[in-house]
């Protein structure tokens, strides 16, 4: 037979038992030609363009799903950072654009549309300031719109004014969406070194150097890696790296195949495969469980950062071999609320915010889906964002903060969103004040790139 019995069974096992799926196929659409002096015309142009390119996105993805027997968890759309083409808009007009995006997303049948974004790592235009100020209202009054703001980069340093502004936006968003456990904050990401071709919502946007329209794919598969590690038994770390690489290689190949087929069906160019290991709240589909299977008693034990670094590196090496189109964030995600293993570690008191921060230094993509007490001061949130940005800026990598100061809740409580966003225990935050540092304002200068110790 052309294929070995075992090869075929392995594929079936991956897709049927180990939650192997394509995490997302995300269509990036440029909105740079949609600007008009009249906001009504602008909104109509945006709506028409998203419908024109995206109307068959879900249908085609579903056809490919059944054709190959591999499920695609999410079908999504990202657009040009809204602040760029519509820089002349005022706050209310930006909110109107958010509503248009929401309506377009609903009409093409997707759950999230991302790109309500601004890139302000060095400074901000009037339009960008208006957009940032509109975020709380925009997220509170829409269901599907996701927002991200880039506040730092290795080339420019960290814009602390923007960091503080975003901390304030996060607090306001939490309050405006308090009825739903401050869910607005789950749709808001603060980035350092944001990438232009990231297919993973909420942080996705269609960068300015991207083509008119493009299809990017994010793979998944922590469950597959977990089972492979368990099956490998007690082997040394080099052999373990080999096991991880072999598994990721296969997953990435399947991801590229699916991405190319969906792109071809839509008649648009294929962009990149993002080889991030993205967990889901499903049992076994967890990065936390992988770290435990590697031999740690729980996530947070000394050695966690090393294990994660090795996992992340093996994922990248295998992904790069498997596909020539690797891009996006490409690493292991460690969102707390979306990963049962991580949730348990936090609940048991084994995983703290500080350890999580250390872990983000060796993997993508930062402090993700972390719930903290609702009364955390703005300056403290700004301090957390600044710390995370510093890790990204100095290490030349993407980092992000998606943090939820859950309104009216405290340590011991939960926020619960259900579905893919999962649930998160409120984590403790140090009570020490960061106000003096943050309130200085200004920009932390760009770092030097040699003598890197």
């Amino acid at each position: 037979m052309q294929y070995e019995f075992e090869e075929i069974l392995e594929t079936i096992r991956m897709t049927e038992i180990e939650h192997f799926d394509i995490r997302t196929v995300t269509m990036g659409i440029s909105l740079r030609d949609c600007s008009d002096r009249n906001i009504k015309v602008t909104c109509q142009k945006i709506y028409d363009k998203i419908i024109r390119y995206g109307r068959n996105h879900v249908k085609y993805a579903k056809e490919i799903e059944s054709h190959y027997g591999i499920s695609i968890a999410n079908k999504r759309v990202s657009v040009t950072p809204i602040s760029i083409p519509f820089d002349s808009c005022k706050e209310e007009e930006f909110i109107e654009i958010a509503h248009t995006l929401d309506r377009a997303a609903e009409d093409i049948g997707i759950d999230y549309i991302a790109g309500y974004s601004a890139l302000v790592q060095k400074g901000m235009t009037n339009g960008e300031a208006e957009l940032i100020n509109s975020i709380p209202q925009a997220l509170a009054s829409t269901k599907r719109v996701c927002s991200s703001v880039n506040v730092a980069s290795t080339k420019t340093g960290i814009n602390i004014d923007a960091v503080k502004m975003m901390a304030d936006v996060i607090k306001k968003t939490a309050e405006l969406t308090k009825e739903n456990d401050s869910i607005g904050c789950a749709k808001l990401v603060v980035f350092a070194n944001a990438v232009e071709d990231n297919p993973f919502v909420a942080g996705a946007f269609h960068g300015v150097s991207e083509p008119e329209v493009v299809l990017n794919v994010g793979i998944s598969g922590p469950g597959v890696v977990l089972d492979a590690i368990r099956e490998a038994g007690h082997v040394d770390l080099q052999q373990l790296a080999e096991v991880i690489k072999k598994t990721i290689f296969k997953i990435t190949r399947a991801g590229e195949l699916i991405g190319r087929k969906v792109a071809k069906k839509n008649g648009i160019p294929f962009g990149i495969v993002d080889i991030s290991l993205a967990p889901t709240p499903a049992e076994g589909d967890s990065i936390g469980d992988i770290l435990k299977a590697m031999g740690l008693e729980d996530v947070g034990a000394p050695g966690t950062t090393a294990a994660l670094a090795m996992l992340n590196d093996a994922v990248k090496k295998a992904g790069l071999m498997a596909s020539s189109s690797v891009g996006g964030l490409s690493g292991a995600f460690i969102p707390v609320s979306e990963d049962m293993g991580m949730i348990r570690a936090v609940q048991n008191g084994n995983l703290t915010l500080e350890k999580l921060e250390a872990m983000t230094a060796v993997c993508s993509v930062g402090l993700d889906m972390i719930a903290i007490p609702g009364d955390t001061p703005v300056e403290t949130i700004a301090g957390i964002i600044a710390d995370e940005s510093a890790i990204g800026v100095i290490n030349d990598k993407t980092t992000a903060v998606r943090i939820i100061p859950a309104f009216g809740k405290d340590v011991g409580d939960f926020v619960n969103y259900g579905g893919l966003l999962g649930k998160a225990p409120i984590m403790e935050v140090k009570k020490l004040s960061s106000a003096g540092f943050i309130n200085r304002g200004g920009r932390i200068p760009a770092p030097m790139r040699s003598l890197t110790n």
Binding site: M1, Q2, Y3, I8, T11, I12, H67, A254, L257
Partner: protein, 142 residues
């Protein structure tokens, strides 16, 4: 293949050369148009050749009992699916069967065949999976 501006420009230059300098604008236009049209037909043929091989891998598992192979192959035959390869193993009370089938001659597409096979699987209380061969080629062959 998309026809880009460059391709059109090239065809136009060729046509002008062929027709000579005496040709009128309309003559050139018509000649270029007919050339592009024939090119399109070529393209479609090419696309068809490049299309998926039509090979599908069928995997089935379940408690062993008489008549499983008969039922599965009968359903495939009714859908004009050609069995290219077949391999079967019994492990304890369980059987596993893997087939490579060609569905190009079938009047139905993969989804419809999948639905028919699902009925067979439900009747026999076994599991049947159908996946396009490309997945296996991409995952297990470099």
């Amino acid at each position: 293949m998309k026809i880009t501006e460059d391709v059109i420009r090239k065809i136009t230059l060729e046509t002008i050369e062929e027709l000579g300098l005496g040709a009128t604008k309309d003559e050139i236009k018509n000649a270029v148009r007919s050339k592009i049209e024939t090119m399109n037909i070529d393209n479609i043929d090419l696309e068809k050749k490049n299309m998926d091989s039509g090979k599908v891998i069928l995997t089935s598992f379940g408690l062993n009992k008489p008549g499983i192979v008969a039922a599965v192959t009968r359903a495939l035959a009714e859908n004009s699916c050609d069995i290219l390869d077949l391999s079967q193993k019994i492990m304890g009370d369980f059987f596993t069967m893997i087939m490579i089938i060609d569905i190009t001659a079938s009047p139905k597409d993969l989804n419809e065949i999948l639905k028919d096979m699902q009925k067979v699987a439900d009747d026999l209380k076994i599991k049947i999976y159908l996946q396009h061969e490309d997945v296996f080629r991409f995952m297990h062959r470099i």
